[in-house]
């Protein structure tokens, strides 16, 4: 593993080893090795279809893989070890394992029949059995942080795309995750709304949250990433600090990709 030494020697939170994933005959991930340390912000870049979303979704087991292993906080999400055997996790175990992982989707996926406040407290109160009052207090704190405190009783469809995505970020933070996954959080947004979401994410990155971000926003990678990973054809072809990968890419594929998007 070529973990870059600029990152402190903080403990590893996510450890992927030889991850393989196929859809039928189409092998989408062809052996991914990845370590993400606590507090790190890792940005994944790569052309469309290179398997970025698939990798992200394997991490919280929205997608199951065929080979390899992924540990998050020392646990294999979706599986339990017992008596020297590996079993598929049941619903309750899976819910507990996912407690530490927040996810933000490209299409927001807010619950349209619930208000912003209900969206945020649904998992903490309904799934993780927190007290409603304290969950609401925490939700208000999060809404203030993403600048949407006055929208607590609005329904998602009454908000702009950028506001919806910031609510979605607050909703993911409400379960107090150790790890945040972002799958192209700004791709469904109009250009003038991208900035507000990226600003929120930069704020999170600098607060020491561990984040894995799939994005096409090179500026975000440059400013907020501790490490940039470039994927192509189901493999990680290059990784390193942003000023190396983005400015002086070694691999011709990375160079070609960056020439196209910048």
């Amino acid at each position: 593993m070529n973990i870059i030494q600029t990152i402190s020697s903080a403990p590893v939170l996510v450890q992927a080893r030889d991850v393989h994933k196929s859809y039928g005959a189409n092998e989408v991930l062809k052996g991914i090795d990845l370590d993400v340390r606590i507090g790190e912000t890792v940005v994944i870049l790569g052309p469309s279809g290179s398997g970025k979303s698939t990798l992200l979704r394997c991490i919280n087991h929205l997608e199951s893989m065929q080979k390899g292993s992924i540990l998050v906080g020392g646990e294999q999400v979706g599986y339990v070890k017992r008596d020297g055997k590996l079993y598929y996790a049941n619903a309750a175990q899976l819910a507990r394992q996912r407690h530490g992982i927040g996810m933000v989707f490209q299409q927001f996926n807010l619950y349209p029949h619930m208000t912003v406040m209900q969206n945020i407290i649904e998992a903490p109160v309904g799934v993780y059995k927190e007290k409603r009052a304290s969950a609401e207090d925490y939700a208000r704190m999060l809404l203030k942080r993403v600048g949407l405190l006055e929208k607590a009783s609005a329904y998602p469809r009454q908000l702009s795309g950028g506001q919806q995505q910031r609510v979605a970020i607050a909703r993911a933070l409400a379960i107090k995750p150790k790890l945040m996954l972002f799958d192209e959080p700004t791709s469904a947004l109009d250009p003038e709304l991208v900035g507000e979401v990226l600003a929120t994410m930069r704020d999170l990155a600098s607060s020491g949250l561990t984040m894995i971000v799939v994005t096409h926003e090179i500026s975000f990678a440059r400013e907020a990433a501790d490490r940039v990973i470039f994927m192509d054809g189901g493999r990680i072809v290059e990784e390193g600090p942003p000023d190396q990968v983005l400015v002086n890419p070694k691999h011709p594929r990375t160079r070609a990709f960056l020439n196209r998007v910048i």
Binding site: A95, M103, F105, H113, T115, R171, I175
Partner: protein
């Protein structure tokens, strides 16, 4: 259409000052007015034909409208509808979930059930349940190939009432299963994905996230089902259940006032249906919360020249 000829656009550089749109009115559409008047006249004429026609014997209709026998029949019809609909919806929900579960046996069973109950006439099903005793004289709970634990005489269990409820509910379940399934698959896949990512179990995701959103497309066809169920209950008169239709038939068999008594039944069926329509629109409004509602821009409907 003169304005259109100029560069294909109604907007011209010299269009003088803009007028405040709060002064705008809809242009009068004379053909539509004429049609509306004709329709109202026709409706009035039809109403007059029915009210003034002595053959309907309206005084007889009013005489029987609140008769205790009719009231009791109405109660049976309403009761049967409610019980069969509730049971049918619950079984239908289970069938729909089985159908959509990746589990091959569960989904196969649900498919078979729906195929059978939608594919055979309601009337035949009712008669079948009523005559269950000829096929299975005993109903018992038992471990296969062992002596029964408990056992009942089929004839004591299957009365006209239980045959009617079982027949109507099981048939309804097949239709409700499809209505509910259509509603569940109309909800965006991202919703169940988000629910999963936030640690919800499948049941919780269905209950809190998927079903409330599916309700919007489940309710209109369910209203349809409920209305055909109300009228469908009239079939149970063949197995001697004294529903609304059966009770008016019982009366006109004595008095021979066939048309007025059928009108009594018609009036009550229409009354219940109207109440249901009213309730349905309220329920729909409840589940439409969170929708972005905006007024459609107003337009004139007449074909006037567009010249300034």
């Amino acid at each position: 259409m003169a304005a259109m000829d100029r560069a294909g656009s109604a907007i011209t550089a010299d269009s003088s000052e803009g007028w405040d749109v709060s002064r705008a009115v809809a242009a009068v559409n004379y053909p539509r007015w004429a049609l509306t008047c004709a329709a109202i006249l026709f409706a009035l004429y039809m109403a007059w034909m029915i009210i003034a026609n002595d053959a309907f014997q309206w005084h007889t209709v009013f005489h029987w409208l609140f008769d205790p026998t009719v009231m009791q029949g109405l109660g049976v019809t309403l009761g049967l509808t409610v019980v069969a609909m509730v049971l049918g919806t619950i079984i239908g929900l289970v069938l729909a979930i089985c159908r959509l579960s990746g589990h091959r046996i569960a989904s196969g069973f649900a498919g078979l059930y729906i195929w059978f109950f939608r594919g055979t006439p309601m009337l035949v099903q009712l008669i079948f349940w009523y005559n269950l005793a000829t096929l299975f004289p005993q109903i018992s709970i038992a471990i296969p190939f062992a002596p029964p634990l408990v056992s009942w005489d089929t004839n004591t269990i299957i009365t006209p009432l239980t045959a009617a409820i079982v027949g109507l509910a099981l048939n309804e379940a097949a239709y409700m299963a499809e209505v509910i399934r259509a509603g569940l698959i109309s909800v965006d896949h991202g919703q169940s994905e988000a629910a999963q990512a936030f640690g919800m179990t499948r049941q919780r995701a269905l209950r809190r996230i998927i079903i409330p959103q599916a309700m919007r497309s489940i309710i209109p066809p369910t209203g349809n089902q409920l209305i055909s169920m109300i009228k469908g209950t009239s079939l149970v008169s063949v197995i001697a259940m004294n529903d609304l239709l059966y009770s008016v038939q019982a009366i006109y068999n004595r008095t021979f006032e066939i048309i007025p008594l059928l009108m009594v039944a018609v009036v009550w069926y229409l009354f219940i249906t109207s109440m249901l329509n009213f309730a349905q629109s309220h329920i729909e409004r409840y589940y439409a919360r969170g929708e972005r509602r905006s007024e459609a821009p107003r337009v004139s409907t007449s074909d006037m020249e567009d010249a300034q």
